[in-house]
């Protein structure tokens, strides 16, 4: 009985706490789940320009803001490659965008992006957010920061924002594959159950 009461109190506390912060959440800039995103045209590491509209057959995209220098981003490199190999053939290719300003973070220069992609064998575009113009539209705050968008008649709609899974630092301890679950749901025409998750990352360097 006592436990039940305690539980109830804590639930109330959470609700009150959360409602106190709804203001700051609505002030949050950038795309939210359900928003239609604008297409972009960004330079890839091979010198070509890449837009989402280039992918005529895509059903959607896994867009990841990542970089060369953040340990959390590095921890996810192999997992992003696996995601692309698994989901590009199903219509959800990975698009990686480096939002860091190389003047603020020298390890994220164009040349070093080329080198890193080669070393790791990236199977997807690794784009430069020149002038740091695209990441603010998404409301990305850190690397890695991931978005799943679905192609619909009204445009590319954001369906998921957040982490790839529940174990950034240790790929062997993953128990929840948030991003895969989201794409899997979309592939069978279902609603994404968990639309937003959070993970630690490195602030974007501008």
């Amino acid at each position: 009985m006592m436990r039940k009461i305690l539980k109830l109190i804590s639930v109330f506390a959470v609700v009150i706490f959360a409602s106190a912060f709804t203001n700051s959440i609505t002030n949050y800039q950038g795309y939210d789940v359900g928003d239609v995103i604008e297409d972009f045209k960004l330079k890839n590491i091979d010198g070509s320009m890449v837009s989402l509209s280039d992918y005529k057959d895509a059903k959607g995209f896994i867009i990841t803001f990542t970089c060369n220098t953040c340990p959390y981003a590095i921890a996810y490199e192999d997992r992003i490659i696996v995601l692309d190999k698994k989901y590009a053939p199903k219509g959800y290719p990975v698009i990686a965008i480096n939002p860091n300003n190389p003047n603020a973070k020298p390890g994220d220069s164009y040349e070093e992006m080329q080198q890193r992609a080669k070393e790791k064998g990236f199977t997807f575009p690794y784009l430069v957010d020149e002038g740091q113009k695209i990441y603010p539209k998404f409301g990305a705050t850190k690397t890695p920061h991931n978005y799943v968008v679905e192609k619909t008649p009204k445009g590319m709609v954001v369906k998921y924002i957040g982490a790839i899974d529940d174990s950034s630092r240790n790929p062997d301890a993953v128990s929840k594959t948030y991003l895969e679950d989201a794409v899997d749901a979309l592939l069978v025409g279902k609603e994404v159950e968990l639309k937003k998750t959070k993970a630690i990352g490195c602030s974007i360097k501008v």
Binding site: F21, K142, S168, R169, A199, I200
Partner: protein, 177 residues
């Protein structure tokens, strides 16, 4: 021909042996380094353990900074937190630096860093993989980037997902009182 082959084998075995002894030597050096570094005892907590530091009800003001040795902006602002701790610890302000370094970096990076920078503020380590749960519990507005800082006392609590200068930190702490 046979002699040549024998010679070759001999040369190989000798060079192999040399390599091995070199490796052994290197290992010993690494061991020594490690024992030197272990002067720092880390306090490591999961989120349940960390909560005690986030919810104190005494008369102090707590400044809780989430950082890591690999985080450039965090390392840059650490001296300001150290200065705050030095100047205000006698005035009821306690700075706690919560490291989010990866577990495999505790010995190789974190402990040497704490020693080299001679950090005087209390350093604790948060080791909890379930980030999606504890980020929201620490503050629903936190997107998860670091540096991030909580400044609180028993009456008021503020959360910041940003970097600080010393003056800004000082102003926030004074405002809270």
């Amino acid at each position: 021909m046979r002699i040549l082959l024998l010679l070759l084998i001999l040369v190989f075995t000798i060079s192999c042996k040399d390599n091995k002894s070199e490796k052994v030597l290197k290992n010993v050096e690494v061991e020594e380094e490690k024992t030197l570094q272990s002067n720092v005892d880390l306090e490591i907590y999961d989120f349940e353990g960390l909560k005690t530091f986030l919810n104190k009800k005494d008369d102090k003001t707590y400044v809780i900074n989430f950082w890591a040795t690999w985080c450039g902006p965090c390392v840059k602002e650490l001296p300001y937190f150290e200065k705050l701790n030095a100047e205000y610890s006698s005035k009821g302000v306690e700075v706690i630096l919560v490291s989010l370094d990866f577990p495999h970096m505790y010995d190789s990076k974190l402990k040497p860093f704490i020693e080299k920078k001679d950090l005087k503020s209390k350093v604790i380590v948060l080791n909890d993989d379930d980030e999606n749960t504890w980020i929201n519990e620490i503050d629903p507005s936190w997107s998860g980037s670091i540096p991030a800082t909580i400044i609180y006392n028993k009456n008021e609590r503020k959360f910041f997902e940003r970097s600080f200068t010393f003056e800004e930190l000082e102003a926030e702490v004074k405002q809270l009182k």
